[in-house]
């Protein structure tokens, strides 16, 4: 029983990281209608910025995280401006391939700057682990911070979307960008803002990911990025609560599958669940059915 609770806690912790990454994916998809495959690599860049500022330059962790958020926000906006904006009118496939190109570009830039050697990431979380039931159940500080951060981010984003002017502009662009433009919404700056928020989330995700799993290479972001994309599809891509639920479920299924079925088949189980969900509900758990107008 304690074993089960412990697995569950680990699953929720891993799932929260997936959820934060998935929130970035789902926002960009919902508003710009494109899959930003470079998202995972922005996570890696965010983690490297913290590594350089905290472990390298010796700044306090909070300052390092803030610098990382600012750097990733700027990076996300630059990527959007340079690589995606010129393709706004191009085919979906062209944008997708460009995103993959940006992903490789970021990986190789990190490879050039930091080299291929693995770096060990010092956790930015200073909270002592909570020990329950005579030490048989240990909940690490990273887990607590990750889960709380994930919930705050989700609630914050939903409030922002619902009540702020720019948030409603985003919703309008996601409904129909052409009509939104006619109504006086600046589509380009709205999309730029989306990328800015998504990339800021990526920086936070990168810090939390590497604090829990302290190994950092230029390829650190790619696999969690793909898993988070799966989580976003699972929950219904474009939906913010969907990304949250999808991320948590994915993490829990992965850990429990590893613990009780087979540690080798963890990924197979995750994807099998995804396929079943998509067969039953093709738009994902909370996705909306979009009527194609003729």
């Amino acid at each position: 029983m304690i074993g089960f609770i412990s697995y569950l806690v680990n699953g929720i912790s891993l799932g929260s990281v997936y959820a934060i990454i998935a929130l970035g994916y789902t926002m960009v998809y919902g508003i710009a209608k494109m899959l930003n495959f470079a998202h995972g690599d922005v996570i890696m860049i965010g983690a490297f910025v913290v590594f350089s500022t905290v472990s390298g330059a010796g700044l306090p962790p909070v300052v390092g995280v803030l610098i990382s958020v600012v750097a990733c926000t700027l990076l996300g906006m630059a990527i959007e401006r340079i690589a995606y904006k010129p393709l706004r009118k191009a085919s979906k496939l062209a944008v997708l391939i460009t995103a993959i190109g940006v992903s490789y570009f970021l990986q190789n830039v990190a490879l050039l700057i930091y080299g291929a050697n693995t770096k060990s990431f010092t956790s930015v979380v200073a909270i002592e682990p909570i020990s329950l039931m005579d030490g048989s159940l240990v909940i690490s500080g990273e887990t607590i911070v990750t889960v709380i951060a994930c919930i705050i981010i989700m609630i914050g984003l939903m409030t922002f979307m619902k009540y702020s002017k720019s948030g409603r502009a985003m919703l309008a662009v996601s409904e129909d960008s052409g009509a939104a433009q006619l109504m006086g919404v600046n589509v380009n700056s709205t999309i730029a803002l989306t990328f800015a928020i998504g990339s800021a989330l990526a920086a936070i995700a990168g810090v939390l990911l590497c604090s829990s799993y302290p190994s950092l290479t230029p390829y650190t972001g790619s696999m969690p990025g793909i898993k988070a994309f799966v989580a976003a599809v699972f929950g219904g891509i474009g939906s913010i609560p969907g990304a949250f639920i999808g991320g948590i479920l994915l993490g829990v299924i992965e850990i429990l599958g590893k613990a009780y079925i087979s540690s080798q088949l963890a990924d197979a189980i995750v994807f099998a669940v995804l396929i079943i969900v998509l067969l039953v509900k093709p738009t994902g758990l909370l996705g909306r059915q979009i009527q194609e107008k003729v």
Partner: protein, 402 residues
């Protein structure tokens, strides 16, 4: 603007075509010039044409396993420079060209073809197992002498034209089980291995087979794959619940650093035992070396060894590349000297065909006994080196030979 760009591209294409169409010498000078690490001596030898042994190397110098490929590339370079400075092999200089395979089998074949066009006669490579197996099929067709410094999978040397410098996976697994058993290091052993990697699986299988003959019991076996190697919480927790007092980790140090951190997080303190993939764990930037205290592993090479040859190699390597060589660099360095020993024993010359050279060198290998930085009096049987592994323990933040 666009026109200018396309003109430029056309110009570049014409030039590269011209380079391909040129005679062998100019083409090889091109590649030698591009290879920034190639030394003056090599280029000088190159200009004579046909008067040098052309040794090619293949390995990942970009990508996730770049650390191994770069070490091999540097290790070969040091040996080549030493040999050329000392007058070459049988009086002929060595011409050396290294190509990147990014740790990918298909790219390794491309690299092999590039090297063949360059005129390679002997191959030192590939570095990682899967590309090495792929390239071994090609060298077998061409009957080219191949020595892999670090391809540990059994299949790397399945053909008579190939041999290796490092231990094979089964040898490591068997030796590890014997060492743990004979030294009474544990009664209950847990294993975590990478089921998507031939290196890790190969060691695990041999370990499991030998464990049956040893006085300890394997109480937990957990696996992970290349796609899920960030979270080890389940594997560690299961090992802990099984009550294992020794954790056997037959995989590379990148993942090991995560496993060690996870064990620390869960307050689990078994004896850690690994294989040669652990070499380098103390070099992980920013790694808390206290986590690895007491980690024991089998390795062919310890940079701190007092041995004169080792010290000579380590000093030169540190001067040239500013870091302490790992076992990959050491195996690569030895590989070149083994090539030298085989050519000398065969009395071969660079004007022989690739196939004749291979037959002559392989014929002579049976009489070669080699002393190097990764072992002494090494002989080869069916492509496998006969050498004893060293036992290394992390103590006080440094590798110590036991």
């Amino acid at each position: 603007m666009k026109k200018a760009l396309s003109l430029l591209l056309v110009g570049a294409m014409t030039l590269s075509l011209a380079a391909c169409g040129g005679n062998g010498d100019s083409a090889s000078t091109d590649s030698a010039a591009e290879e920034s690490t190639t030394t003056e001596e090599t280029e000088a030898a190159d200009s004579e044409g046909g008067e040098a042994f052309k040794i090619g190397g293949i390995g990942p110098i970009t990508g996730g396993t770049a650390i191994y490929g770069t070490a091999v590339q540097n290790g070969i370079q040091i040996a080549v420079d030493e040999i050329n400075a000392a007058g070459g092999i049988n009086g002929y200089q060595i011409d050396y060209n290294f190509q990147d395979d990014e740790g990918d089998s298909e790219k390794a074949i491309n690299a092999y073809n590039t090297l063949k066009d360059w005129g390679m006669q002997v191959l030192v490579g590939a570095v990682t197992s899967a590309p090495c197996i792929a390239v071994a099929e090609e060298t077998r067709n061409d009957n080219m002498f191949q020595i892999t410094p670090s391809g540990t999978a059994v299949e790397c040397v399945q053909y008579p034209n190939a041999l290796r410098m490092c231990f094979s996976d089964p040898t490591q697994g068997t030796e590890s089980a014997k060492y743990i058993g004979e030294n009474g290091m544990a009664t209950k052993v847990a294993v975590i291995y990478d089921s998507s990697d031939v290196y890790s699986t190969g060691i695990y299988e041999a370990f499991a087979a030998e464990a049956a003959n040893q006085p300890f019991e394997v109480v937990s076996v957990e696996a992970f794959t290349a796609d899920s190697k960030t979270d080890f919480s389940v594997q560690v927790q299961k090992s802990k619940e099984a009550g294992a007092d020794l954790l056997f980790m037959p995989f590379y140090y990148t993942e090991a650093s995560l496993v060690l951190a996870e064990c620390d997080k869960q307050g689990y303190e078994p004896t850690f035992f690994g294989c040669d993939g652990m070499d380098g764990i103390l070099g992980v930037e920013n790694f808390d070396v206290a986590l690895a205290e007491g980690l024991t592993f089998l390795a062919p090479f310890v940079a701190k060894s007092e041995d004169e040859m080792v010290q000579n190699f380590v000093t030169k390597y540190e001067e040239a590349y500013g870091e302490t060589p790992n076992q990959f660099a050491a195996d690569a360095y030895d590989s070149v000297y083994v090539v030298k020993a085989a050519i000398e024993a065969a009395g071969a010359t660079p004007d022989m065909s690739v196939s004749d050279l291979c037959d002559a060198m392989m014929g002579a290998m049976s009489s070669v006994t080699y002393d190097g930085v990764t072992g002494k009096s090494i002989t080869w049987t069916d492509g496998e080196p006969n050498k004893a592994p060293l036992v290394v323990q992390v103590s006080g933040g440094e590798y110590t030979e036991l």
